[in-house]
């Protein structure tokens, strides 16, 4: 016979669940502490979203030119060079792994703060456009409001995304659970613990020095796997419906505010063996961009895919390294400076860039790390 008493009698009746009430108080306290300690539990890429969101509502967004987009923009457009060449202030609001819902939210913040750039430089990675934005939900929480996240879930008709969005936004511990786990797991596995504050500090300096951009040192990108025959794009590319919806919203918002948008079709490194694939993909993507440009009168396509930059100027085949970013930015500035009324053009071809020309001097992340003082490693 089991020794448990199957009928131990009723609990002490209480209308108020004091246990649950106490739990809620504890949870609120812990989450508040986690929120204040966000720097310790947020990876650099996510922290970059937070910084960009702050900048979009701050004085940085008062720049004459604002850059929007994903990592292609963040790593490949250098505001210091653009500013020098164009004589206008520039700020890069690019987001690593950026999603169009977040991009639209940032533009909304800029306009709500009463600022309006003279023009927008836009760059988008096609494979990110093809993905479900839920993949970047954790990062979206750093830049979007709860309402914006729920709107994204509604737009995707995805109730599960909505629930995850609420959890991620309201519970910093849930959002950073992998980072917190790593703090516990790594010492148990004998691995050194890296404080995220120390990891992020060089990036934060680099974003400050480069006005929002993140410039990577040449030759520090991930090596291609041996024997890899991978090419990231193909002719079957399609824009994800939700990403497309928000891209249109972004362009419409800029159009309504009277802001010209220069949509840069960013260059990427094409191995000779995949030129056919690249040509086929480029045609599909060009048609996609043209359809949107035809719909929004404020959009000018800048085709930089024939920039002809050599592989050594790329960080990883898609993103440019520091030198490549400098050259691309200079070439873009030259194009905009020499084209009369560029915002009235519907299509601009960026001429091939000579890699022999002097490379603008810029600070990359490695240099930022060396330049950090001990006090700068400790973030607020």
């Amino acid at each position: 016979m089991p020794e448990m008493d199957p009928n131990p009698g009723p609990r002490r009746p209480s209308r108020v669940p004091w246990g649950v009430a106490g739990t809620l108080v504890l949870i609120v306290g812990i989450e508040a502490f986690a929120s204040r300690s966000a720097a310790w539990i947020t990876v650099p890429d996510a922290w970059g979203w937070r910084v960009a969101a702050r900048a979009a509502a701050g004085p940085e967004s008062g720049a004459d030119l604002l850059c929007f987009g994903d990592s292609l923009v963040k790593l490949s457009l250098a505001p210091p060079v653009l500013e020098r060449e164009l004589g206008q202030s520039v700020y890069n609001l690019g987001l690593i792994g950026g999603r169009t819902p977040a991009m639209d939210a940032l533009l909304g913040r800029v306009l709500e703060s009463g600022r309006k750039p003279h023009a927008i430089l836009l760059g988008l990675e096609p494979n990110v456009l093809a993905q479900n934005p839920e993949i970047g939900l954790k990062f979206c929480c750093e830049a979007m409001s709860l309402f914006g996240l729920l709107d994204m879930a509604w737009s995707s008709r995805d109730a599960s995304m909505g629930a995850k969005a609420v959890l991620s936004k309201c519970l910093p511990t849930y959002r950073s659970r992998f980072e917190i786990r790593a703090y516990v797991r790594d010492p148990l596995h004998g691995m050194p613990t890296t404080l995220l504050t120390e990891l992020t500090a060089p990036y934060e300096r680099n974003w400050t020095v480069n006005r929002g951009a993140q410039l990577m040192a040449p030759g520090t990108g991930p090596p291609a796997p041996p024997g890899s025959d991978f090419f990231p794009y193909n002719r079957n590319w399609r824009c994800h419906p939700t990403e497309g919806r928000y891209l249109k919203r972004f362009l419409a918002r800029a159009e309504a505010a009277g802001i010209p948008v220069f949509w840069i079709l960013m260059p990427y490194d094409v191995p000779p063996a995949h030129e056919d694939k690249a040509t086929a993909f480029n045609e599909v993507y060009t048609n996609f961009a043209k359809r949107l440009a035809d719909r929004y009168a404020n959009v000018t396509i800048v085709d930089a895919r024939s920039a002809g930059l050599p592989s050594r100027l790329y960080y990883d085949g898609l993103h440019l390294s520091r030198d490549g970013a400098g050259l691309l930015s200079k070439a873009l500035a030259d194009l905009m400076r020499t084209t009369p009324d560029p915002e009235l053009s519907r299509w601009l071809d960026l001429p091939p860039i000579s890699p022999q020309q002097p490379i603008p001097r810029l600070e990359d992340v490695d240099a930022s790390k060396l330049a950090l003082t001990p006090s700068e490693t400790i973030r607020r």
Binding site: M4, R15, G22, L188
Partner: protein
């Protein structure tokens, strides 16, 4: 629609308020609709089987209420069993029997290609067919009158909290609850919320984290040392317990929120001190069903020791087969049958050990618990293994290549199992499964907060299926 999914959370958030706002009759019909929606969300095509089983047994019950001739009454019971077991046999065991028949024929020199089914197993079929059959048998035995209200009977069969993985409810227990108008009870609602929370903690934090380690180690059973093999078996023991009892807790919790009381299905099974004790604590609804509808009709412990042992063995073998169409399940059931028989045989000897000293009594009890646990774990090895070869590999490693398990595996297992054991020791010592609920509010707050963060930080959110759904 898994309990540990947002889909279910949204479903229940809608069902709960609508249910309580409706009057009694409409409430029952609404529960039926919710049950069908819940089942159809898995695969709408198999809803027809659930409805077929329901209508069939409803009809058989009505017929048994009108017919008095014993021969004709038996016919309707047989009809119900043939149709229910026929459905179960067709979807679950057809391929198993044809494959083995083919092997048997091939061994006899006859190569006859037999037809193989390519159809998914309807989820919950093992549970609702048994539940529905038990209604017909109870009507036949005149334990309950036949149900005339089809809506109430259909709700009994398709009550969604327990539809896909039990507990198997007796008509004598659940039907009266459906018939009686239910009143919202705040304490019952709190208890329900607590059970849901505790069940999800066991599933998401403990079972799903252990599953990754178990799958990894069983996946390379041929190359791990004895320490890891033993750890894999212990981890699986807790994985299957937390997975199944977690599901049951959520089912009971959801039911309580709707004003129903489902049967307790797990009663600290790893604190059992004998095989009989284990089976009175593990999957209680199935073991009592098998006792009442198989063991006792076979003769039970009447007809001498040999008959009793035969009935015990047969019942456990069929219990093993119920779990799945594979020889490892039959072997597992047979093993438990042999263990039960062996323990019965050894009972006179064991009864002679009567320590008088309190410390000795405790030591003897702990020894029996540990021994029972390890006998159960050996059974889990048979249950989890994909083949007898794998069983051999794991045993070989344990017997001949013993080593301390690597910390990378041992620490995560201990991290999730030790807190569970601490709570269960508390429950066992207090002789109260609701020990946490009776603790002071600040103790409860700390425990709830710890469980909450265990879920948030340590939980796996891939929405993994419950193990017993495959049965």
């Amino acid at each position: 629609m898994l309990f540990n999914s947002f889909h279910f959370a949204y479903f229940f958030l809608i069902v709960f308020p609508v249910y309580w706002l409706l009057p009694h009759r409409a409430r029952t019909a609404f529960l039926l609709a919710a049950g069908y929606y819940f089942y159809a969300s898995w695969d709408w095509r198999f809803l027809s089987l659930l409805i077929l089983s329901t209508v069939m047994d409803y009809g058989c019950g009505l017929a048994l209420g009108k017919i008095e001739t014993p021969r004709h009454r038996k016919m309707f019971v047989a009809l119900s069993m043939v149709l229910n077991l026929g459905m179960l046999g067709f979807f679950k065991y057809f391929n198993f029997f044809t494959e083995n028949l083919q092997v048997l024929l091939a061994n006899s020199g006859l190569n006859v290609p037999l037809w193989q089914l390519e159809v998914a197993l309807p989820i919950g079929i093992s549970f609702y067919t048994f539940q529905s059959m038990s209604y017909v048998i109870d009507v036949y035995r005149r334990d309950i009158p036949p149900k005339r209200n089809l809506i109430e009977f259909a709700t009994f069969v398709s009550f969604f909290p327990h539809l896909v993985a039990g507990p198997i409810m007796r008509p004598t227990t659940l039907l009266p609850q459906i018939e009686t108008p239910r009143q919202f009870n705040l304490q019952q609602f709190y208890q329900g919320c607590y059970l849901i929370f505790w069940g999800l903690t066991k599933k998401i934090v403990i079972a799903d984290n252990l599953a990754m380690i178990v799958n990894d180690l069983f996946g390379r059973s041929g190359s791990i040392d004895g320490g890891l093999a033993l750890l894999a078996i212990y981890a699986f023991a807790f994985q299957i317990y937390c997975d199944f009892s977690g599901y049951t807790d959520v089912a009971r919790g959801v039911s309580k929120c709707l004003g129903f009381e489902l049967a307790l299905n797990f009663n600290l099974p790893y604190f059992a001190t004998s095989p009989k004790d284990f089976w009175s604590r593990w999957h209680i609804s199935l073991s009592t069903w098998l006792r009442d509808y198989l063991y006792i009709p076979l003769g039970g412990n009447r007809g001498g020791m040999a008959m009793m042992y035969r009935n015990l063995l047969l019942t456990m073998m069929i219990g093993g087969l119920w779990h799945g169409a594979a020889w490892t399940f039959i072997l597992w059931g047979t093993y438990h049958g042999l263990w039960l028989v062996g323990h019965r045989m050894a009972q006179p000897l064991l009864d002679k050990i009567q320590p008088t000293n309190r410390g000795d009594r405790l030591a003897w009890k702990l020894f029996r618990m540990a021994a029972t646990f390890h006998f159960v774990c050996f059974g889990w090895l048979l249950f989890r293994a994909t083949s007898l070869t794998q069983v051999g590999e794991m045993l070989n490693a344990i017997l001949y290549h013993m080593a301390l398990p690597a910390g990378a595996y041992l620490v995560p297992v201990l991290a999730v199992v030790l807190p569970l054991l601490a709570i269960q020791v508390w429950q066992y010592g207090a002789r109260d499964l609701d020990a946490i609920g009776r603790a002071p509010w600040y103790v409860r707050s700390l425990i709830y907060t710890a469980c909450f963060y265990a879920i948030v930080l340590g939980g796996e959110f891939q929405g993994s299926q419950f193990i017993y759904f495959q049965f």
